[in-house]
């Protein structure tokens, strides 16, 4: 048995299981928070009925989010919502109905606590890692077991440590950092592993930027994307009226990492992922992008639909007009983000710029509604995935970038270096 220290993932699971566990071990762990969304929840609940466990072990910590088809664009989806509401009422589960926002964002604002084990029926559940939690996505049936029985089985993951120094330069956001990392490790570089973030660059990074890093751990194949809980975590919780839930965490200094990657934040530049895969990374200044007309800019999703993301976009475009051939769709990731955008005056800026605003939720990202592109059209989106068909049309092309890159691109109608506008 190794005597090396523990990584964050090992620490969180050890605390939950009640003994020191190491990467490679298979454990049965209690689950502190389990949730589903409207695309995965109906199957979860049908499976729970089949299993004979149509109940919630801890109903106050079992949540249903209606976010992917919100409000429903088709009667079939409306019927799924009817079933979700009925099941939630019957079992006492918490319900977040249409307009409340994307599951991961609302879960982060209200439910995810430091040291929690969080299981969600959606792959971007990994965003909870930014709270200093063990948060991972699973399929409908696994989450049904977590809701019904309050536990799950897990293989304790090995860890890749991403050590970030320096401050991101003007015009560069954490989205550019995670895209650069994905370009380096590729979309299966962290398969089955924990992507742990740390270093002076992370310590001074605000929570909303950390969340983008943890959110895209799954794009590297990662099982989780934890960040130590620190003073910034405390600030976030206090600002959400949850200061008493704060607990610090840190990996052991001699933790055993499968590999450590060093990144100098100050040396980063804005980048985009070109269509087909999130690891096709090029600089925003790449000549190949110059002749690509962008028909739609989408600002939203759990990746970058927070108030600070929308505010960064709005500040960059204030007093300007969008490119005539470019549609601009902004979808706040939560009601909180929407209200803050309204109160800050950015909503007016966005509308005057020529953007349209959709109600909080996943919006255009998963291809259900809210901005499906046409054949041959190009989209620049702040979301996390650009696979063929992702936004609802296999004949459209999706580029991924930061909210600031989205702002510069919306102004000029081609992918544009945000450092020229901020």
């Amino acid at each position: 048995m190794s005597t090396a220290g523990l990584t964050l993932a090992e620490k969180f699971l050890s605390a939950k299981v009640g003994r020191d566990v190491r990467s490679g071990e298979i454990v049965i762990s209690p689950v502190d928070l389990a949730y589903v969304q409207d695309g995965t929840g109906p199957l979860t609940f049908r499976q729970m009925e089949k299993m004979g466990i149509a109940k919630a072990m801890n109903p106050k910590r079992a949540v249903v989010f209606i976010d992917h088809a919100s409000p429903p664009p088709r009667k079939e989806l409306a019927q799924d919502h009817v079933y979700l509401r009925e099941f939630a009422a019957r079992t006492g589960m918490v319900l977040h109905d249409i307009g409340d926002g994307v599951c991961h964002q609302v879960a982060f604002e209200k439910y995810v606590r430091p040291w929690d084990v969080v299981i969600g029926a959606d792959s971007h559940t990994v965003m909870g890692g930014a709270m200093g939690a063990f948060a991972t996505g699973m399929g409908s049936t696994d989450v049904g077991v977590a809701i019904g029985l309050g536990k799950t089985w897990l293989r304790v993951p090995e860890t890749l440590r991403f050590e970030v120094s320096g401050e991101l330069p003007r015009g560069v956001m954490s989205k550019d950092l995670i895209l650069r990392v994905l370009g380096d490790i590729r979309s299966d570089g962290a398969t089955y592993m924990s992507m742990e973030w740390g270093g002076s660059g992370i310590e001074r990074m605000p929570m909303h930027e950390r969340m983008t890093l943890s959110n895209m751990a799954i794009e590297g194949g990662g099982k989780c994307g934890p960040i130590a809980s620190d003073e910034e975590t405390r600030r976030y919780l206090v600002s959400h009226g949850r200061g008493e839930e704060w607990r610090p965490s840190a990996p052991d200094p001699d933790a055993a990492y499968a590999r450590v990657f060093d990144y100098d934040g100050a040396g980063l530049e804005p980048v985009v992922a070109t269509p087909g895969s999130e690891d096709n990374i090029v600089s925003v200044t790449d000549p190949s992008l110059r002749d690509v007309p962008i028909h739609e800019v989408y600002v939203g999703a759990c990746t970058n639909g927070r108030f600070e993301d929308i505010a960064a976009f709005a500040k960059a475009v204030r007093g300007k007009s969008k490119a005539p051939h470019t549609r601009v769709i902004v979808t706040p990731a939560s009601k909180e983000a929407y209200v803050l955008t309204l109160k800050s005056g950015h909503l007016e800026t966005l509308l005057e710029f020529g953007a349209m605003i959709n109600s909080p939720g996943c919006g255009a990202c998963p291809g259900v509604h809210g901005g499906i592109p046409g054949d041959g059209e190009n989209v620049l989106s702040t979301q996390n995935r650009n696979y063929k068909g992702r936004m609802g049309n296999p004949n459209a092309f999706v580029y991924l970038g930061s909210p600031l890159t989205a702002a510069a691109t919306a102004m000029y109608g081609v992918i544009t270096d945000p450092r020229t506008v901020v």
Partner: protein, 164 residues
Amino acid sequence: MGRAWKFGDNISTDLISAGRYYHLRSNLPELAKHTLEDARPEFAANVKAGDFVVGGSNFGKGSSREHAPVVIKMCGVRAVMAKSFARIFYRNAINNGLAAIVCDTDGIEEGDEIEVDFSRSVVQDRTNGKQFSFPPLPPVMEAIMAEGGLAEYIARHGDLTIRA
């Protein structure tokens, strides 16, 4: 014996079960008609019971949608083989009793006749005579697979008491 349907690397769950068919997720027989449509449009209409889906690396990457392995299984596919699988897809496949075999698929060509001996953990390509062994499942997944899936396991045992 079944036919190999060959796919490349990084087959995402969006390619397996596209978001534009979101409204069919509670109508699985209809959803299954669109299985792998954006990767190979002819697949769902022509796949036969007992055939094999053969991918490259990182098969099933992306979302947690359990519908992806469910519709592949509903098409009659005997097993999915790949050099590597994305984590959630792999777990979902086993949870639904769909065999997911990790082996070197470079040696398997489109249309090859494949046979799998699960008791010996061996894949045989009858077309080119090649043979590949694959690692057994960890005990926890073996126990789930033996019951035909996680729902069946829990229905029978009433609890998640799998020996870790």
